[in-house]
């Protein structure tokens, strides 16, 4: 047991080191002269050379990585070349917004996906199953950005129910915040809901055919309790896994969705950083995204073990 925990931890650490190196390399390889962003176009070549030296840009790549990683571990991700703000401060402002969007999307996916999957399994082969399957297949094929635009066209432009874009911090005006988050949540959450639905359907079909379900029925347990308490409880594990493993995809969806709805989150930060050649910001934002994905994957493993005592971490 101890050994498997240790090897898991070692594996996690290796992945973190390797992916942080990729993040660093992305920033280092992005074209563009960072000295232009600081000094402007008018600086002399000597001034540039001096700045390059003081920024450590002339050191070997591996030295620069180690310096960067050591600083990052201390919480120093550099400063934005554009706004001169510490990257950590920018991230602190942006991360909660993206996390709110992703968690609302997961909530939507679970609340819609699980009942649909259960219903499809329960009435397997019937009309409900067919309708749910078609809706699910279609939802999986809709690109995020197109769905976002269709939602804006329908609910904002045509019907005028919600504003098309913008963002208000939750603690400033919770109602307006949720109103603005509604369409982005549907945009990011729809494909996820379809995935959850498909997984729930498969897992429920499996669970409903088990002996303990037959036993529960034989004992005279009501069909509802049998489905919910006996079958669904056991079908939860693969559902949790699909949600956990898709977290990365969700973060990718947030990048596009934040662009459409003008939400100042992590995704927008990456895009703006790339277009502005703001290296420290791009590195910091992508590093945060990768950290979130790795942590969520770890949590998924833990929840899996907690839901199913037979599984050892």
């Amino acid at each position: 047991m101890m050994r498997s925990v240790r090897s898991k931890a070692a594996q996690l650490l290796t992945v973190l080191v390797l992916s942080s190196f990729i993040v660093f390399a992305i920033g280092a390889l992005l074209p563009g002269d960072p000295t232009i962003a600081v000094l402007g176009d008018t600086a002399t070549p000597e001034q540039r050379a001096q700045l390059r030296e003081s920024l450590g840009l002339n050191d070997p790549l591996i030295v620069r990585y180690l310096t960067w990683a050591a600083d990052a571990l201390r919480g120093d991700l550099g400063t934005s070349l554009r706004s001169q703000e510490p990257v950590l401060q920018i991230l602190a402002d942006r991360v909660p917004i993206t996390l709110q969007l992703t968690f609302l999307s997961i909530l939507l996916a679970v609340v819609v996906g699980i009942p649909m999957g259960v219903a499809a399994a329960k009435w397997r082969g019937g009309t409900a199953d067919l309708v749910i399957s078609v809706v699910g297949l279609s939802s999986l094929a809709v690109p995020y950005f197109w769905l976002g635009i269709l939602l804006i066209l329908l609910f904002s432009i045509q019907l005028g129910w919600v504003p098309p874009s913008g963002h208000v911090p939750f603690f400033e005006d919770p109602l307006q915040n949720l109103k603005l988050m509604l369409l982005p949540t549907i945009t990011v959450g729809t494909a996820m809901a379809a995935l959850v639905m498909r997984q729930a359907r498969t897992a429920m079909l499996e669970a409903l055919s088990q002996d303990y379900v037959r036993t529960a029925r034989a004992k005279g347990q009501s069909e509802f309790i049998t489905t919910m308490r006996h079958a669904l409880r056991n079908a939860l594990n693969p559902i949790v896994t699909v949600v956990g493993l898709q977290f990365g995809t969700l973060m990718g969806g947030a990048v596009v969705t934040e662009t459409i709805f003008s939400i100042p989150g992590l995704g927008r930060l990456v895009i703006d950083g790339i277009f502005n050649r703001d290296l420290a910001v791009v590195q910091g934002a992508i590093l945060t995204i990768v950290l979130c994905v790795v942590v969520i994957n770890l949590l998924t493993d833990l929840v899996y073990a907690w839901l199913d005592p037979r599984v050892k971490v």
């Binding site: 992305i26 992005l30 297949l137 094929a141 690109p143 635009i149 973060m251 596009v256 995204i289």
Partner: protein, 294 residues
């Protein structure tokens, strides 16, 4: 219930090729047939684009800007009077070129890397797989964005970026399959007979893991198209004036009242992705005799 001991046996009867048998089984699979037909239609549009459009996708007509769909322009026109229909049809070319080549490259590179890694095992395997894990920790679109930002936006570079982000999944799949297959008796028998490692991998292991990889390839194609259109939506894919679906959707966002500008190219992405998904699901049912088709 299919017998579990049959392992992964080909579906073919002795006198028919596996490819023919697979096609026949696909034709009997309603969802697979639908997916195949959708993709054939898209492929037809891509190949015969000049024959099924009357206006060149690059023809600008300032006297007919932002026209709604009509008998003359069935998908309407864009902000500089180009036919959205022509551009959507020609867009199929770009989409198919990028998706098929990117997935093809990723499939070959990823599968070979995964097979070798799984076959050799030991430290090489650990190193290769950890690197793949590290790449997998990045959301595909974010990594593809970063790669394109480094090497510059263009058709070839979008293709390269999508291929790179798709490699790890193929490697993982191939490695997992190799670990199972190499324990099978006939592989052991080949080893005992003194077959070389290369021979075992090429003739005994590869054909056996191929069905899994093809199924995954079809599903990856849909993911690749979503990534490609995401890149061009954000302005980092194929550069204008080339008609790329994602970019067309993005430009439509500047003209809210002209809904057709975003709607039709988006619909094309939707159907193509749907086609690949349906085909992938059907192939999985057809190629795996252990799976009960429901």
């Amino acid at each position: 219930m299919a017998a579990r001991s049959s392992a992964i046996s080909p579906v073919a009867t002795p006198n028919t090729s596996p490819i023919f048998a697979t096609l026949r089984a696909l034709a009997a699979h309603p969802m697979g047939l639908l997916g195949g037909l959708i993709l054939l239609l898209i492929a037809f549009a891509a190949i015969f684009a000049p024959l099924i459009t009357s206006v060149d996708p690059a023809t600008i007509d300032y006297t007919a800007i932002l026209q709604p769909p009509s008998s003359e322009y069935i998908f309407g026109t864009d902000e500089i009077g180009r036919s959205v229909y022509s551009r959507t049809v020609y867009g199929a070319r770009i989409a198919m070129i990028i998706v098929l080549s990117a997935v093809g490259v990723a499939l070959i590179v990823g599968s070979i890397a995964g097979m070798i890694s799984g076959y050799i095992g030991g430290r090489t395997d650990t190193i290769v797989m950890r690197v793949m894990d590290a790449v997998l920790a990045f959301p595909t679109l974010v990594l593809a964005l970063a790669i394109v930002a480094i090497i510059g936006p263009s058709l070839v570079n979008a293709l390269v970026a999508i291929a790179i982000v798709s490699i790890p999944s193929f490697a993982r799949l191939a490695r997992g399959s190799v670990l199972v297959v190499r324990e099978l008796d006939y592989v052991k028998a080949a080893e005992v007979l003194g077959a070389s490692h290369l021979r075992i991998m090429m003739f005994h292991i590869a054909p056996n893991i191929l069905p899994n990889i093809i199924v995954f390839g079809s599903l990856t194609a849909s993911a690749a198209l979503i990534t490609e259109s995401g890149l061009s939506f954000l302005g980092l894919g194929v550069q204008p004036p080339a008609p790329s679906w994602g970019y067309m959707v993005a430009i439509g966002m500047n003209y809210w009242t002209s809904w057709w500008m975003s709607f039709f190219p988006g619909l094309a992405i939707f159907f193509t992705v749907l086609g690949f998904n349906l085909l992938g699901d059907a192939l999985r049912d057809v190629l795996d005799p252990r799976r009960v088709v429901d």
